[in-house]
Each structure stands twice: as C-alpha cells, then as structure tokens.
Symmetry: C2
Subunit: 245 residues, 2 copies
C-alpha cells in the first residue's frame, strides 16, 4: 500500500504517535498505475494533486527544444512529489516512469491535513523537502565540479543510500532501474562515455554490474574517490536510523 510506503518514510523523520500514523494511513487518495516509460507529469501542465510513489522508479527531467534532456532527480518508493500544487503552481518540469510505477494521488486539500493536523507531521514533511532540496544541490556540485568517474560513483552511492532509507536493499548493492542513456542524461555525459566509465570502474574492482543490479566491491574506497560525504542527507538529524546498517 502506498500509505505504508509514505508512513515508513515519514517515520524516518519524526517520532509519530498513533494519531499521526492514523492520519497518514487514512489519507484520502486514489491509486494509479503507470507503464514503464509513460509520462506522468508534462512540463507546463497544471498540477491538481500531490503524488506519492508506492512502488517503482521515476525521473524528474527537463527537456530543451533541441532534444537535449537533463534528469534532475530520481523518485523512489515513498517519495512525495509536486508539493508545489499546494500553491497552485504549474509544473516547470516533467516526470516519467522508468519502471512500472504505482502511485497514490492525493488532492491538495486532503494533503494539507498532514500539515495542519499535527506538528510532528508538519515537521516530517518539511524534513522531506529539506532533504530533497539537498539532493538537488548535490546534483549541481556533482555535475559542475566532478569528473565522469566521480560523478558516476557518487550518484550510485547516493542512490544506494536512498534505497536503504526506502527500505530496499540493505546489502552492498541494489537493483539498478536506470538504463545507461538515462544515467547519462542525469550526469550530463554522453551515453558512450558513461558506458566506458562504468566499465572502467568495474575493471578497477570498485563495483560489479549484473543484469539489472550494481554491487559495490569496495564502497569505502569508492566513497573516498568520489568524495561522497552523505552529511547532506541530514541523517544525524533524525537520530541515525541507518545506524543499524
């Protein structure tokens, strides 16, 4: 259920009592299913609901007129998107499903209850926003300053960490749902160079690629090479839930 995915995520950011949990679990909304590759939000479209990812991966991206495309961020299970709808904004970027995707659509007025019913819930939603903005900033640093090798490693480490938070993949690897062309568009690289650099990372014994998965063979060394410092996740702020790892 989508509400469980949301609750799991929110619980990461605040200690909820039973009332809070019930507000989340009784959130009004309709479930939808999108096929792999289908467009969920089109840039310019008027938004009418807040979406919560129940299962699957999606990408936010922006297209230029000449066909170039930049992936801004990846949306994973438990992620909430288009909170902008709360101020009645139009979408300034698009969202597409990269795997089959299940979502919960929540009307703005229903979602707003999460922000008014309880201080703890409000706090948790704020935290999610703070974290998402931090991901955007990190994307800027990565693409602006790092080499192809660093970008790829850093991005994969970030994805892995985020999937851990979403409770998917506690081991030293994860199911990688992005194709190399999509990865390239996320990192501002050509698909060819992305491919070569990925293979180089594998040859260097830093990771292993299989059909649809990535396994880190030496996560610490990779993190050092890429200067991956997860403090931007602000995990300490919510009591190191990941310390169980």
């Amino acid at each position: 259920m989508a509400r469980e995915a949301l609750l799991r995520r929110i619980s990461f950011f605040a200690d909820l009592d039973d009332d809070d949990k019930n507000v989340v679990l009784q959130l009004m909304g309709s479930e939808r299913r999108f096929a792999r590759g289908s467009e969920i939000i089109h840039a310019g479209q008027v938004l009418d609901s807040v979406l919560v990812v129940k299962s699957g991966w999606a990408i936010r991206y922006k297209s230029l007129e000449d066909g170039r495309r930049q992936v801004l961020n990846v949306l994973l299970p438990g992620d909430v998107f288009d909170l902008q709808v709360l101020v009645a904004a139009e979408a300034d970027h698009s969202v597409s499903a990269v795997t089959e995707l299940e979502t919960l659509s929540v009307k703005p007025e229903d979602f707003r209850r999460l922000l008014t019913e309880s201080g703890r819930l409000t706090l948790a939603i704020w935290w999610m926003q703070v974290q998402e903005e931090a991901f955007l900033r990190e994307q800027i640093v990565r693409n602006g300053q790092q080499t192809a090798r660093e970008r790829i490693g850093h991005f994969l480490l970030e994805l892995h960490r985020r999937l851990q938070i979403a409770d998917e993949g506690a081991y030293d690897g994860f199911r990688m749902a992005l194709t190399q062309p999509v990865l390239a568009d996320a990192l501002g690289l050509s698909p060819i160079h992305t491919n070569r650099t990925l293979r180089q990372l594998e040859r260097d014994g830093l990771l292993k690629r299989e059909k649809d998965s990535i396994t880190f063979k030496d996560p610490d060394r990779l993190a050092e090479i890429c200067q991956f410092d997860p403090s931007y996740f602000h995990l300490d702020a919510f009591r190191m839930r990941l310390s169980r790892e």
Copy 2:
C-alpha cells in the same frame, strides 16, 4: 530597511492586506553587516536564525576537499535563506558575501509567525521556496546540458530577471557583482574559458561589459541562443507583475 526589501519581495507573490504588511514590517530581528568576501554560514554549522538580504549579493556554495568549489545560487536583496532552520537542520553548504552585505537575522520562532499569522503570508513564503527550488533545477539543466556560451548567457539573463524582481535594474542591463572566477565556479567552467567565452559574446554583439556592469545589446537573440525560457520563474502565477517592463 531589510523589512521593506522583504515586504517588496513577498508582495510579489501575494496580495497582502494592511495587517499582513504590518506583521512583516514588525518582524523581530537584528540587522548585521558583513564585509565583502566574509563567510556568513559555514557548512556544518548549526543554524540559529533565518536571514533576509537587505542589500548586497551573496553566494551559496559547496567546497570539495581538494579545493574545487561549486556555487549553487546567488542571493540577492529580498532573498530569504536558511528557512531550513525551522526544522533545526545543520547547514550542508556555505554562504559568503560577494559584496558588502546587510542582513536581517530573524529567530526561528519569530519567523514562524509569518507562517501562522496569515494564510496569504504562508502562501507567499511557499512561493518563494518554490521559486528558489526552480532556480536550483535550472542550474542543473544549464550546467548539465548547455555549452559554455549558452550557460553564461542563460545565467546572466536569469540574474537580470531576478534583479528586476528585486526592483534593481529595469533597463537592459545590471550591475554585475560577480567576478569571473566566481562566475566560473557557478557554471562549472574554468576562469580562463569563462573569460574567453564572455569576450566572444561581446565580440558577437550580444552584450557589452563595463567596469562592473553587463548590458544586453540584443536580449532576444541571446535568449534564443541560450534557450532562456523564464517560465520557471512562475511569474504568470502571480499575475505578471513584470508586465510593466
């Protein structure tokens, strides 16, 4: 006064009544002045207040261990930063003054009144956040997909537009407070290449550079070359205040 700068900005996003305006104008806080080049927030620091820019320019940036630096965004008069403090976060990036800078420091509990006193004020603050996030996304697209020439033109057009909103510079140019090295760090380019590309833009008759200012000689052609589409400002959403231009 800093409160006037804030009020001017907020008024852009919502129709405030006299009560709303008074809440803003009576906002508690202490004014501070920073020297050119001084660090206002250091990454890792615990935040204790929301800051409002009264005058001057600042940059948000993130430094890597080896000295590389990425500028994330520019802060202009009327901008509010570190709203994160409302959820007690630590700074995950730094802020420095690029000109002499005057700010208003507002304690979180005082700032929170803006979010509770009035629905219109809450809406306006949300809008500012939505817009700031849009700037981050645009920065990702620019640095990820565009050439040096496009990046520089696009960034300058964005700055110009933002200064118009801040009520500084209604003409076809603006006072440019960023040095070329800072510009380079914002655009993920080397200072040398930034310099050459700037000069090339000038030679092509697209802009004119003077001591501390940029003047667009052919803004429309520049916007076309750079695919500058200001819809991410969401200006239409708050009734085209810029239509006077």
